[in-house]
Symmetry: C2
Subunit: 255 residues, 2 copies
């Protein structure tokens, strides 16, 4: 009998920053968060990359905190004029920014009184009622208010904050994800068989991703994921057998 | 006197695919589109990464095609069961999927009659009234309907479709973007100066991005962009002078 596993809680990531939208910088935080949430049993259901524009941030936060169980944000909490995330979140929650004394003291100690100028002091102001998220890399905290978790955009700091934050969130069933590479096959050759397997495992998510590998040439990655580990294993076996039936050898790891 | 340049048209990219949200795959298409749109004078104002879920796709397309001048999508137009983008776009526009005869013939010729099975034939069905976007890599077309431009997710094909599509769109003023790396400085040292420069150039977007380079260590990238090339040049000079005033030498290119 099929084990009954409740639907995972849902999450949305808001990447706040003109530098991704201008093409100057490649986002790295989506993957970091996705993998951490998979392990923790929360489903990353949407990512939005939005500009450093006050109205745009406030409107998006307001919509997303109603639509998802968890909202994570990255970017815009540094000391410069373009760091407006904390002020926007405060507005979205209709509260003021207030000096968070422990963070203020920690930052003052870190920078020394002389270097702790007004720009750096801004980083100790959090929306009223927010709880800080520790920053073991560069001291300036992220914060949680309601179901919104606000983190830095610099990947090293984002990763450190994720490691602080995720274990404090309610845990679900970890996502199981596995699959095979079918070197030498094409999606069109596998489509009918994949449809049959997907219909046999309606609670799983079976995906098919063509690739063109520099060394091994063209093929298709067949990936199965879901929250029932036993079913995922059985579906992976079915994918394995499908590749064999098409006359190729399933490959693990790199194509 | 300041040249009067109209505000650029706005664009949203929808990346449709569970493989990005699961962390299995790193998105590469945002940067490709962003750089092409910068050149063409269209502003990429938002990116949404959404799952292969019918309701989620239809709702997002419906919202975004009303909120932005252009909507671009990537992913979900192949031959397998998880390729549901074309059907969802048809629903969002309240039209049927119909066989597009020239695409059907081209695909039949490409695959040969025997390999042109029902799964592959699906790729020749477009929403009624859509115009195909040529696919010089693997024949199966993208398409345009209204202000929505639908493309493949595989980066090589996405890039080729972008190259076909962008020159057909109304052209604006290209975005000018430049800047300097300030090795050895910190955002907090530069914040007051940056605020003054931003206030002097209110029509430009001045951004500050800390880095920690493996070879050259910590510093800040100071980036200016906007649609007034002359102003961008003047602001870049001001950023240059700010770095000098803080006792460091501005660096071009890599930090």
């Amino acid at each position: 009998m099929l084990q009954n596993i409740p639907s995972p809680k849902t999450a949305c990531l808001l990447i706040i920053g003109n530098e991704i939208l201008s093409g100057r910088t490649q986002d790295a935080n989506t993957r970091t968060l996705a993998l951490a949430l998979n392990q923790h049993g929360i489903r990353l259901l949407e990512v939005r990359i939005i500009p450093d524009i006050e109205d745009h941030i406030i409107k998006t936060v307001t919509t997303c905190r109603e639509s998802f169980d968890f909202v994570f944000t990255s970017g815009g909490i540094g000391p410069t004029h373009d760091d407006i995330t904390a002020a926007c979140i405060a507005q979205a929650f209709n509260v003021s920014l207030v000096k968070h004394l422990p963070s203020f003291s920690a930052l003052e100690k870190h920078f020394g009184t002389e270097r702790f100028n007004p720009a750096r002091q801004r980083m100790a102001y959090l929306p009223e009622g927010a709880t800080p998220i520790a920053n073991p890399v560069s001291v300036a905290p992220g914060f949680t208010i309601g179901n919104v978790h606000v983190m830095a955009g610099v990947p090293k700091i984002f990763t450190a904050m994720i490691e602080e934050l995720i274990p404090t969130l309610p845990q679900g069933t970890a996502l199981s994800m596995t699959g095979w590479h079918a070197n030498g096959l094409r999606e069109g050759d596998l489509a009918a068989g994949l449809t049959a397997i997907q219909e046999h495992f309606p609670q799983l998510d079976i995906g098919s991703y063509p690739y063109d590998h520099p060394k091994n040439g063209k093929g298709v990655a067949l990936i199965v994921k879901g929250y029932h580990a036993e079913q995922v294993k059985n579906a992976a076996q079915a994918l394995h057998d499908l590749i064999i039936a098409q006359g190729q050898t399933p490959q693990e790891g790199e194509p």
